[in-house]
Symmetry: C2
Subunit: 276 residues, 2 copies
């Protein structure tokens, strides 16, 4: 129970940070900027940070840890995979619309597109995210995919997912930097007006949200019990080649407070699925 309690604290903190971030970006565009519209002007641009924070960061973060929620362990792994994929798809749609908003705004204002490092890395992240989504569905939601392919691909799937999540936050921080430099003129960013401080705090909140999601995703003791067993089997080399299991989301650490594996075995008597 101590383990579950710690998970609940970490999850609550992550969700709270995510929601506060969304509120912050809402206040930023409505109180300090021109609000939201779809008119080619700066109010259309404002959809960009709103959709990135609420979709590409918050929804993606929740999608990553959805297997960790203890109250979902009673549902089938297949259902959870659909929710995992569905949330990622939603995050992707948010990201695409947010990019359309920027291109519209740039084109209307005669500002060049794709010149900044932020735009290069942001577009690369969206393209790789799409590839990850397509490959993920092909590997884990199409029933014909061989179990050996699924297992072989899992380490890359997990690594790429976490790397992309971290990269999206890094790109958002670059975007905040750009917007505060370009958007603040009198007083300037360097004069630290209230908007500058406020949006800097938003940046800090996004980093803390990302750090917590990565912590939750990489604690083995917080994994779905069947996935913990799969990991144990794999580490021991007990699985035969045909059903070799890739470890599930992250084994960065087993944690000093890991439940004894015997306990885990009692909690789940069968392997629900052949991959994470």
């Amino acid at each position: 129970m101590e383990n579950i309690r710690r998970f609940a604290v970490a999850l609550s903190a992550a969700v709270a940070l995510g929601i506060v971030s969304i509120i912050f970006v809402g206040i930023w565009v409505s109180h300090y900027r021109d609000g939201l519209a779809w008119d080619g002007g700066s109010a259309e641009f404002n959809w960009h940070p709103v959709l990135i924070v609420s979709g590409f960061i918050f929804l993606q973060g929740i999608a990553i840890i959805v297997y960790r929620l203890p109250w979902t362990w009673q549902y089938s792994k297949l259902l959870m995979k659909f929710i995992h994929a569905g949330l990622h798809l939603l995050a992707f749609i948010f990201a695409v619309i947010s990019m359309v908003a920027v291109f519209d705004f740039h084109n209307a204002a005669k500002i060049p597109n794709m010149y900044s490092l932020h735009s290069w890395l942001g577009l690369a992240a969206v393209i790789l995210f799409c590839l990850q989504l397509v490959l993920g569905v092909g590997m884990y939601l199409i029933p014909f995919t061989p179990a050996s392919w699924r297992a072989a691909f899992m380490p890359l799937h997990v690594y790429t997912g976490l790397l992309l999540f971290g990269s999206v936050i890094a790109v958002a921080l670059m975007g905040i930097t750009e917007k505060l430099i370009f958007g603040l003129s009198n007083p300037k960013y360097k004069d630290s007006p209230p908007e500058a401080i406020f949006v800097n705090v938003l940046g800090v909140l996004l980093v803390l949200f990302g750090a917590l999601i990565l912590w939750i995703a990489t604690r083995t003791s917080w994994k779905r019990p069947s996935d913990q067993i799969l990991h144990t089997l794999h580490t021991n080399g007990e699985g035969d080649e045909g059903s070799k299991i890739g470890p599930a989301l992250s084994e960065l650490s087993d944690g000093a407070d890991a439940e004894p594996s015997g306990d885990v075995r009692r909690r789940s008597n069968k392997l629900e699925d052949q991959e994470n």
Copy 2:
């Protein structure tokens, strides 16, 4: 041997990317900017990107994966811990000097300090890096520290180390963004002069370097053999409480190409140390 060959390819690519990044930042400050000096002017500022890329990014990256180098497995774990800590200390010194350069430059040019999100997150990263270094030395290089403390702290040590490494690269990307906006006036950043493209490429190189270091650090099958055994013991719950072992750097995945654990056991017959 296939496993070692793959490691060699990944390591070579990471080192090459790191060295090319250092060359890029050197060309940036010498060809496009005013070179290096310690005079309070822009040439003093230029030490900032040079020392961050060569020290806080490249040296830190190498420090993280130093346990993975197969030709070091013949040396004692203690020696490798000193090298791991020493490289991190060097990276920290580079970071501190690089910050002094910026403060000097700002003060001479009457530019405010610490107003940007880049400066907030950069300073936080340096402070947390220092804390991580002090705690790491206290935990793993002072002989009196109880093994149970070492084991309990290891998951946090590994997580924080990798998170800080990724964060430092993110902060560097924000710094590049700032410098290109402030430094380019005619033509501007948005006009994509050669310097803008060149330094954007430097940003991409840093991301690729970081991604490769994180990949290397999180492959269990590339770990020092004794650490792989410690991980197996821990995952199985075979270790008694007093000598409970935290897993070593990263268990993000065991990889489909993991060596059978029997092989690993043959390669090393004793546990050299009680922690990573």
